[in-house]
Subunit: 349 residues, 2 copies
DNA sequence: TTGAAAGCGGTACCAT
DNA sequence: ATGGTACCGCTTTCAA
């Protein structure tokens, strides 16, 4: 490790004080233009690069946001998570913040909780992606002494914020779309209980169905967000008494599995069975038929998480929960209900 | 920002020196067990968390690796990049390194090159993902004064290393597989010139074909790694004089586009046209037929990048280029050459 | 407009 | 085994 040029080196070379150098480099107003120029030039000539670590120590200000990538095992998160990160870095760097990235495996092994890792690095805020309800450090996060954003999960705590998608509206739109195609027996495939959205999505479905007096326990099936579980759930649907003509599936991955199951059973999608997923993963476009889905906007969610943290840091009040709009992307996996003689064309508000 | 407990606070509370506290906290061997215990307990009681920033300043050692996510526009990178990052963080955290994540947009706007950003933060090494050959800071990277790993790109420079996949072997295996299915007119769809692997992949293809005395310029088609370009290239193949019976495509995404083009033209895959991609993206399994492909191992590549940097830091010599094994994943997109009466069964070394 | 000096929170060298 | 102290590189009063 070779010696680096410091402001003292510049100062002594120029026969001025380190103070002056510091202020010249930081473009303070109380330094003469001529000195500034001289300092900046010699700094460049000497190959000086400022030491942010020293600066952070003295200003007691890390300009850093910690970001935890949790539960990567969930394949569903892959492309979604990548865009989330993209949005986070973009927005952070734009505001001169650094992003420190952590993963779960190593940290927890060492017995350090998330918040302590942040505290040690004097991180100013933290973002959690892929947090599960059975995470052992849940209430640790709740007590974070700095602004914290969790995707898709609302936790108690004064510094804890949630950035998510407006699943309720998104699902309502999808359900209305199906309903208007004449479907009334609309099944639902849920995800696992360790994700907070699981319940939110189910509630949205239920709310719609009850509004139509069409809610039936027998239409509910469950999975765990994996493709395999979607396949199995679809098999159950096939033998169910209620003979649903459409399914709303809590994730695209499960929907992909479901489509496969229907195909394998010789049931044609969409003419005999309509299906809608959630997420808008890449594969939606490649499967036959292309999957109609409710899309989230992960990049924007990432940006929003950082915005929320920075706003808190600047003492601007933030809503505890921010739900970004979802978009129904209509492709080829839905058709009119073949059993219905009363297909609606355009109805309802 | 409330006042934090420091080592000195603990020292004065215990009437000992800060030195002793520091050493007790760091579990040095020259401190009595009893003192260690006392110190650690009071530290906990007082709510002390060590300040890594201060430590980094004094030890002149950031324990941090910078990671640049470049060219995210390339959809191909999505899931691949996510695993790359996963591997990087895992391995870094396991070795007590932090990962600082950067993106291109903001940094370059501010006129700061990659290396300067690293230098300011006293980063000990850097990793570049998605670097393109037309990046304006290419020779800036070459001169990095710290170990640097670039995925899939070899650059001159004493501190620059390359972690990639062994495309040559991977492609040879795929080509042999096709050849053994009786294909001799094997077309190739290349990527754009801004990625170094583009040439490597083409060379591997060419080498094989020339070895069989089957190389023909007319079998080469080009794309830019997007699905659309794969579609277009496939259309050209359809009208080409040489009537290839198989195609090796430089990325799965292009292969997906190509399959679509063949389908649209009424050509059946794999009975009338065999096709192999590279990458093993998620969608390979969802398309009909499932796509045979040459898989990379992005997670392992990420780990390897970090290992390389840490090895350099520990003065262990590293190879300038490390190519990880690729695996031919046989699925349903290849079949025997229908025009060939001489289908080989098992041949060649 | 510039300078001197006191830290920020640790670590490490040299004593004891 | 423990303490005194200088110092890492920078910023920030306060004084000149």
């Amino acid at each position: 490790m070779k010696k680096r040029v410091t402001i003292k080196d510049i100062a002594s070379k120029l026969n001025i004080s380190p103070t002056a150098v510091s202020r010249a480099l930081n473009d303070h107003s109380d330094i003469s233009e001529s000195l500034k120029k001289r300092v900046q030039e010699t700094a460049r000539d000497m190959g000086y690069t400022r030491n942010v670590i020293a600066k952070r120590l003295v200003t007691n200000n890390s300009n850093t946001i910690g970001c935890f990538m949790l539960g990567r095992q969930d394949i569903q998160e892959e492309t979604f998570g990548f865009h989330l990160i993209g949005g986070i870095i973009d927005e952070a760097n734009r505001n001169n913040y650094d992003i420190l990235l952590f993963t779960t495996s190593s940290s927890t092994e060492q017995g350090k909780d998330y918040i302590e890792m942040c505290l040690e690095r004097r991180v100013e805020g933290a973002i959690f992606m892929g947090l599960r309800l059975d995470d052992p450090y849940l209430d640790n996060i709740s007590q974070a002494p700095f602004p914290t954003v969790i995707f898709d999960t609302e936790l108690p705590g004064t510094n804890v914020y949630c950035v998510t998608s407006d699943n309720r509206t998104g699902i309502r739109r999808a359900m209305e779309y199906l309903w208007n195609l004449g479907h009334e027996r609309i099944a639902f495939i849920a995800g696992h209980a360790q994700a907070q959205v699981t319940k939110i999505r189910f509630d949205a479905y239920r709310e719609f169905m009850e509004g139509k007096h069409a809610f039936l326990e027998g239409l509910i099936f469950s999975g765990d967000y994996t493709r395999q579980s979607g396949y199995r759930a679809a098999q159950e649907i096939l033998v169910s008494k209620l003979k649903p003509s459409a399914v709303l599936v809590s994730s695209d991955l499960m929907a992909l599995g479901a489509i496969q199951a229907f195909k394998d059973a010789g049931l044609h999608v969409p003419s005999e069975m309509s299906i809608i997923g959630i997420d808008n993963i890449l594969a939606c476009e490649y499967i036959e038929p292309q999957l109609t889905t409710i899309a989230q906007n992960p990049f924007k969610m990432g940006e929003q998480a950082v915005k929320t943290i920075i706003s808190c840091l600047e003492h601007r009040k933030q809503p505890r929960r921010l739900a970004l709009e979802m978009e129904l992307i209509v492709r080829g996996s839905c058709g009119p209900n073949p059993y219905s003689h009363t297909q609606r064309t355009l109805a309802l508000p």
